[in-house]
């Protein structure tokens, strides 16, 4: 059986190649996935509590006993005037801090503003944040590409502008810019840094200021907060906990899965594609092994016959061929895992600079051992099955026919 060394090597190279590509592809794909998810997940609250201005679900006429059985056709219901503020937010935050499922909370104020650039006003959004909490939970400093994020807290009346916005306004660090709120209040803010999120829409319109600065800008008291961002220990619980809080606090609560469902779908589809490509490669390699073993059996018919004539049972013959297949699978698989790791490391070194992703310097790779385990298991399983059918055929060879045929 050793005589077919060349074919055996070809088969093993097939397995090696497919395992290499499988591991590399999955590492690279899931590296990219993590990167893209990270763009959203690291920066987004797992649950966001806020007040939404919308018409009440139950109109007075619905509550009325008298008209319960009547059809209500009033369709032009308008929302009543209410504030965006979360009432009693201090107590809510205190309560949230005691919840064991939560790893942290950060209050936030979101407000519409106009950035005044000479005679022109640019619309945009200022996020008032608790600088330290924001950095701890959402890695704020990673996105501050110039300037120091903590200056936002230490310098009164300061602002960190989105990179695209700063370019439009020609604002350098240390410059003073002027903003106008929706209510007409004007305020001068000092630029202490730029941030770059990688999402153009955000970079062109948003900027960050501290909570105190924003409250001052809006002329509100120190308890004014419009959002509470919650980060959970286990992100998968977000939808359930969001529902729970929605009921408990009578607020809108949106979980990350609902808010970013397109990302979830994108990730899972990408993962699915890479798995199917990898598995296809392995199956093709499996067919290669199947073919080679089949040929081998036809060539070695005489040898198999004589082995059986001299007392080797069908099971022994079966074992020999399965053994060959598994040897190919194991050797090819191990080599493939090593090469796959090597290729992943190589890809990891390739520079990948993009303006959109300031924190990424090289192509992302996820060295998850799971891919290696899947690759190893799959290489053995496919080669086993590739060997199984030819060897069953070999074990059923009737020595009489071959010996007589000569």
């Amino acid at each position: 059986m050793l005589a077919r060394l060349k074919q055996t090597i070809v088969a093993a190279v097939g397995v090696t190649f497919s395992i290499t590509m499988f591991v590399t592809l999955l590492s690279f794909m899931s590296g990219l996935n993590d990167l893209l998810d990270g763009l959203i997940i690291n920066r987004t609250a797992h649950i966001r509590l806020y007040n939404e201005i919308k018409p009440s679900d139950l109109q007075p006429v619905n509550l009325s006993e008298t008209y319960k059985t009547y059809h209500n056709f009033v369709s032009s219901v308008k929302p009543k005037k209410e504030r965006l503020q979360i009432y009693n937010n201090g107590a809510i935050m205190d309560f949230l801090r005691t919840d064991k499922r939560i790893s942290g909370i950060a209050p936030k104020i979101t407000t519409q503003v106009f950035y005044n650039v000479g005679a022109i006003d640019l619309t945009g959004v200022i996020n008032g944040i608790d600088v330290e909490a924001e950095n701890r939970l959402f890695l704020f400093q990673d996105y501050v590409t110039e300037g120091n994020y903590i200056d936002l807290k230490n310098t009164p009346n300061s602002i960190i502008l989105g990179k695209g916005l700063a370019e439009k306004m020609l604002a350098d660090i240390g410059d003073i810019i002027q903003v106008t709120t929706a209510k007409g209040e004007r305020m001068q803010l000092k630029v202490v840094g730029y941030f770059q999120s990688g999402l153009q829409d955000i970079d062109n319109a948003q900027s960050y200021a501290s909570i105190n600065t924003t409250q001052k800008l809006l002329g509100e008291s120190g308890t004014y907060i419009t959002d509470i961002q919650i980060k959970l220990k286990d992100i998968t619980l977000a939808p359930d906990i969001a529902k729970e809080y929605q009921k408990l606090f009578d607020l809108e609560a949106i979980d990350i899965q609902t808010a970013n469902s397109q990302f979830e779908t994108g990730s899972s589809v990408r993962t699915l594609i890479s798995y199917s490509v990898g598995i296809t490669l392995l199956i093709v390699a499996g067919f290669g092994i199947y073919n080679i073993l089949n040929m081998m059996i036809y060539e070695k018919m005489d040898s198999i016959a004589i082995l059986k004539a001299t007392g080797f049972s069908g099971r022994d013959v079966n074992r020999i061929f399965i053994g060959i297949a598994l040897t190919i699978g194991v050797l090819g698989g191990i080599l493939g895992l090593i090469l796959g790791f090597g290729l992943s490391v190589a890809i990891d070194q390739i520079p990948f600079n993009t303006a959109a992703l300031p924190t990424i310097k090289t192509y992302p790779i996820n060295y998850n051992p799971r891919f290696y385990v899947i690759g190893a298991v799959f290489s053995i399983v496919t080669t086993y099955f590739a060997g199984f059918f030819p060897s069953r055929k070999a074990s059923k060879i009737d020595p009489v026919i071959i010996i007589r045929g000569k």
């Binding site: 005489d302 004539a309 001299t310 007392g311 022994d316 020595p399 010996i403």
Partner: protein, 224 residues
């Protein structure tokens, strides 16, 4: 010495494809230890078929085969393989040596399968068998490096490795020239006389058959 080691009881055999033809009809005979028996007959009289039935490789027959007093009917494939391994040695018209292994390893293979002796002992025994056949000097060569006559002798050594009850030969000299046939016959004779080895040889070489102890002549699936 008159111990029966192989017995055929009313063995009949049919070929069903394409039409049912009876190739063996009611074969009854027995072989004692140390017998040197030859089976002769014209081509197609069923002598090879009989041999394959006796050797347990062909299981599609009527009647019964007793090897060493044990019935071969209703045995499983793995058990029959074990019987072949332990009790029967084969020599075919073609040598069927495995070119991947050395001559020595070829001889050792059935012994290693039997697992009665350790590998070292099997190797030692293989050398002894090769010595009996006068080819121990070729032990480490590959089968395709030795001559045709030597190959047949290696095949005989392989048949001997597990000290079988009986050696079965299917035209073992059919492919050999006069000189080599002579050598092979002398080996068989020596095995029978000196080592008290039973042999059952199918041949159509009448000269060969005449020199054996006993001749079974067959015609049209019957023993004459």
């Amino acid at each position: 010495m008159d111990q029966i080691i192989l017995e055929a009881k009313a063995v009949s055999k049919y070929f069903h494809d394409p039409v049912t033809v009876q190739v063996l009809t009611d074969i009854n005979f027995s072989i004692n230890r140390g017998d040197f028996v030859s089976v002769i007959g014209k081509s197609g009289c069923g002598k090879s078929t009989l041999l394959y039935i006796l050797s347990t490789m062909d299981t599609d027959y009527a009647g019964d085969i007793l090897i060493d007093g044990e019935s071969m009917r209703n045995k499983k494939e793995a058990d029959l393989a074990r019987v072949r391994n332990e009790k029967i040695g084969f020599v075919f018209q073609f040598h069927y040596l495995l070119n991947e292994f050395s001559v020595l390893k070829n001889v050792m293979l059935p012994g290693l399968k039997l697992e009665k002796y350790s590998e070292k002992e099997v190797e030692h025994r293989a050398y002894e068998k090769l010595k009996i056949l006068g080819i121990e000097s070729e032990a480490l060569k590959k089968p395709n490096q030795v001559s045709g006559g030597q190959k047949q002798r290696v095949a005989i050594a392989r048949a001997l490795i597990n000290d079988p009850l009986i050696i079965m030969g299917d035209e073992p000299t059919g492919n050999l020239d006069k000189k080599n046939s002579e050598i092979v016959f002398d080996i068989f004779k020596e095995l029978a006389d000196v080592y008290n080895q039973s042999l059952l040889i199918v041949t159509h070489d009448n000269e060969f058959a005449l020199r054996t102890d006993r001749i079974i002549e067959m015609e049209d699936g019957r023993i004459l």
